[in-house]
């Protein structure tokens, strides 16, 4: 009835990696719930009237393109790492980090443009929601940038070697980074839909 199964140490490590990958997805589901509930609050509040209409700064849109590009670059870096092209891997990883920082700076200038237009955090909730949603995204981006920095630090300080453990860590960073991109595209789609 019970067949003996051959287990190696690698098997049980792989199982734990699988579990942790799964845990990240669950965490993402939780974060998504925050944005989902804010979305519903946003839509319901807009439908209630007394709503200030304004056009979002273009930088919000350019940032979406930048986010998508950064995801592609990080994916390429991961592919390079798996093919043991370590130089390319490090260059692309650093490039992603730069693009992430550029996104954040762009975001800051977008907020400043909103303020110049007379849209403040305070006042009509239509402006407040934009600041809160983009701010919350930026907060998540800081987490992403931190993990990218750790990844880059390790890429530069550890010997060039492809191990299961490093691949696993890279995958977690990659998944989270794609999630951040998805989130921004989602927010842009929401704003375009509501405009």
């Amino acid at each position: 009835m019970v067949t003996t199964i051959k287990n190696t140490e690698a098997d049980s490590a792989a199982r734990l990696f699988q579990a942790k990958r799964f845990a990240l997805w669950i965490g993402i589901a939780g974060m998504m719930m925050v944005f989902t509930s804010l979305t519903s609050a946003y839509i319901v509040r807009k439908a209630a009237g007394n709503w200030l209409e304004f056009k979002l700064p273009d930088i919000f849109f350019y940032n979406a393109l930048l986010a998508i590009a950064s995801s592609v670059v990080l994916q390429a870096s991961y592919a390079a790492f798996k093919r043991e092209k370590f130089v390319l891997y490090k260059v692309l990883l650093a490039l992603t980090l730069l693009m992430g920082v550029a996104f954040l700076l762009g975001q800051y200038s977008g907020w400043m443009q909103l303020v110049d237009m007379g849209i403040f955090l305070q006042g009509n909730p239509s402006g407040s929601f934009v600041f809160v949603l983009s701010g919350l995204h930026a907060l998540h981006l800081l987490v992403g940038l931190t993990s990218l920095s750790v990844a880059l630090f390790q890429a530069l300080s550890l010997p060039d070697r492809l191990t299961e453990r490093r691949k696993f860590r890279f995958e977690l960073t990659l998944t989270f980074w794609h999630f951040l991109t998805f989130l921004w595209v989602y927010l842009m789609a929401l704003w375009m839909y509501l405009a």
């Binding site: 140490e9 942790k20 909730p125 407040s128 809160v132």
Partner: protein, 618 residues
């Protein structure tokens, strides 16, 4: 203690594990010193071992339970004896007791603070962290046959975020302006404007910080529970062989994961309103005769976000209790749980429906009556899976030779409470009846019985039953039974009269009723309730003494499986180290409820099925 000849001996357990078990080479990893077990700090304080973390959750929860209970006694004194002299409480409460001519009275502001903090800590710190934090941590790895949680580190963080939340909440009790006093639901504007009341300032700020830390704790824990159940089950443990405890913790964690972030979002907007001058929840407010310039928001929006968590939260509290009760009952009835699959489906459907009923807390908040109809229908549908569970519990013990001990009696008490409280839920689920009853003691009685006392009963059943697993000793049975009878009778004595008060129209949230002649003849009932509450609290102290005494002095466990249970946690050594099983992981061969089968008292999950047997579900 059914130590019959049929009991599987310690030697046989080890043999079964050795023969069929699953070697994951766990113990080969730690050659020089186990990092989880070396040194006092790693072992007992910043521990990553789920068994220690479970005890940390339990003891922290118990401390909050005592504090929360004491708070209720103070405001019950005010309600039962509004003219009484409270000067004797001055050494404890300081300026919150105002002494005039030698007569001390409780500051009304502090009365509201006590009610608020009582609700907050019992709901979140005791019945969420203390209940599902304790038992999910203890039982998930042990009952599914895992070495530990998927991420022991996040698990440790989960406890320490809870600890921080506790510290912040505790500090808020000592603020000169008092803790938050706007109710545990923290509705704006009282929660959104620091100038709204004295507790709305620093008290509310600390309350919010504490709850945000708590949400982080719940999410870290929940992510771990879900991941562990889905990924780290031992060989042979398919989902239909999980004990009902695990099913309930699993669904509870999913509910928490989907609802607590919504609370976080609601709190996030609340913080902006408080600190940065936005108007998400505020509209045309006057304070001290001055109009504020905050317009365009809606306080109802907060209520929606709050209750989208708030209602699932009551199932986050009650489902783990249900799981514990199912397991305890089946074990002590020596019968399989009746309708295992129906139990699982009803847990899942309660979980699903819990997201569709939140606005039944808002019938009096001015929501559209048409929308209210939708919520009435779904609320009443929840009665169906709940009734399925109740019938299955009753059928499980029906005709059994039920072993009466503290654990199993609390399990029966749970069902009694759940029925009593559930029935009044059917009244309140209807908007037409809820509107006159909502702001009365009827609601207070309803939710205390159905999710407060009932969940405590489930928790007590779990503590008495798994205490030997946690500490290797038994709690005292006589004191346990005394605790049971005192709590059962005491809790009914407190809450049955409250239903009557509510139907007579006595409003909740009032500091005293002496301005309302209509309510003056209820003074006697209020006195009775207060006295009953004090007595019931004294019985809880018996439990606390029994608990701590038994940790060090209780009767020692001599066999691994004192209750004759089928589940995996009883196959570990009495004092299981890190990794739970010293050698291989046990493999699971059958479902967890093979009691009184084929002429045997019980068959453990690790014993292979004979050729004639197959997985069967009743």
């Amino acid at each position: 203690m059914a130590t019959t000849t049929q009991e599987v001996s310690k030697h046989q357990i080890d043999q079964l594990i050795e023969e069929y078990g699953y070697d994951d080479h766990f113990h080969e990893h730690h050659h020089e010193g186990d990092k989880y077990q070396s040194g006092f700090i790693q072992k007992y304080i910043f521990s990553q071992d789920h068994k220690i973390i479970a005890r940390q959750f339990l003891i922290t929860g118990m401390i909050w339970g005592i504090l929360g209970g004491l708070m209720s006694l103070i405001f019950r004194l005010q309600l039962g004896f509004p003219e009484g002299n409270m000067a004797w409480l001055k050494p404890l409460l300081g300026k919150w007791i105002i002494v005039n001519d030698g007569i001390g009275t409780l500051d009304p502001e502090f009365y509201y603070a006590l009610v608020t903090i009582h609700g907050t800590v019992i709901v979140f710190f005791v019945l969420t962290a203390g209940l599902s934090g304790t038992f999910s941590n203890l039982l998930i790895p042990l009952q599914i046959g895992a070495r530990d949680m998927a991420s022991p580190f996040l698990n440790m963080l989960s406890y320490w975020f809870f600890f921080l939340a506790s510290v912040v909440m505790f500090v808020s009790l000592f603020l000169s302006t008092g803790p938050f006093a706007g109710g545990w639901v923290a509705y704006p504007p009282l929660s959104a404007l620091p100038e709204a009341s004295s507790g709305s300032g620093a008290g509310m700020t600390l309350w919010l910080i504490s709850l945000v830390l708590f949400v982080v704790s719940v999410l870290l824990g929940g992510i771990n529970y879900i991941t562990t159940v889905l990924n780290l089950r031992t060989k042979g443990m398919n989902m239909w062989r999980l004990p009902l405890t695990i099913w309930s913790f699993f669904i509870t964690a999913i509910i928490g994961l989907l609802s607590f972030p919504v609370l976080a979002a609601g709190f996030f907007l609340l913080m902006f309103d408080r600190l940065l001058g936005t108007s998400f929840y505020l509209n045309e407010i006057f304070i001290n005769g001055h109009a504020l310039d905050r317009v365009g928001g809606s306080p109802i929006l907060y209520q929606h976000l709050f209750w989208f968590l708030g209602h699932p939260e009551v199932y986050i509290i009650i489902l783990p209790a249900m799981g514990l009760v199912s397991e305890v009952m089946s074990t002590h009835a020596r019968k399989p749980i009746f309708g295992y699959k129906a139990m699982v489906y009803s847990i899942a459907s309660i979980g699903f429906l819990s997201f569709l009923v939140w606005a039944h807390h808002m019938y009096v908040a001015g929501i559209n009556p048409f929308i209210a109809n939708f919520f009435i229908v779904f609320t009443l549908i929840i009665a169906v899976p709940s009734a399925v569970k109740v019938f299955n519990w009753i059928t499980t013990i029906y005709g059994s030779s039920y072993r009466f001990n503290a654990a199993s009696m609390f399990a029966v008490g749970f069902v009694s409470m759940f029925i009593s409280g559930g029935l009044t839920g059917i009244f309140l689920g209807n908007a037409v009846l809820d509107i006159p009853l909502h702001d009365t003691y009827f609601v207070v009685a309803h939710f205390h019985v159905v999710m407060g006392v009932a969940a405590f009963f489930g928790m007590f059943a779990g503590i008495y039953h798994w205490f030997p697993k946690m500490f290797g000793r038994f709690m005292d049975e006589t004191l346990g039974k005394l605790h049971f009878w005192g709590t059962l009778i005491g809790a009914y004595a407190v809450f049955i009269p409250m239903h009557y008060l509510g139907m007579a129209g006595v409003a909740r949230r009032y500091y005293k009723f002496d301005n309302f002649d209509a309510f003056s003849h209820f003074a006697g009932i209020n006195k009775f309730i207060t006295i009953a509450a004090i007595i019931t609290f004294v019985f809880q102290l018996i439990f606390v003494i029994n608990f701590f005494y038994s940790i060090w002095k209780g009767r020692k466990m001599t066999s691994r499986n004192p209750w004759g249970s089928t589940t995996l946690e009883w196959t570990t050594p009495i004092h299981a180290g890190h990794g739970n099983w010293p050698g291989k992981l046990p493999a699971v061969q059958r479902w967890p409820y093979d009691y009184s089968k084929n002429g045997r008292d019980f068959i453990p999950q690790i014993e292979p099925q004979s050729d004639a047997e197959k997985d069967e579900f009743h």
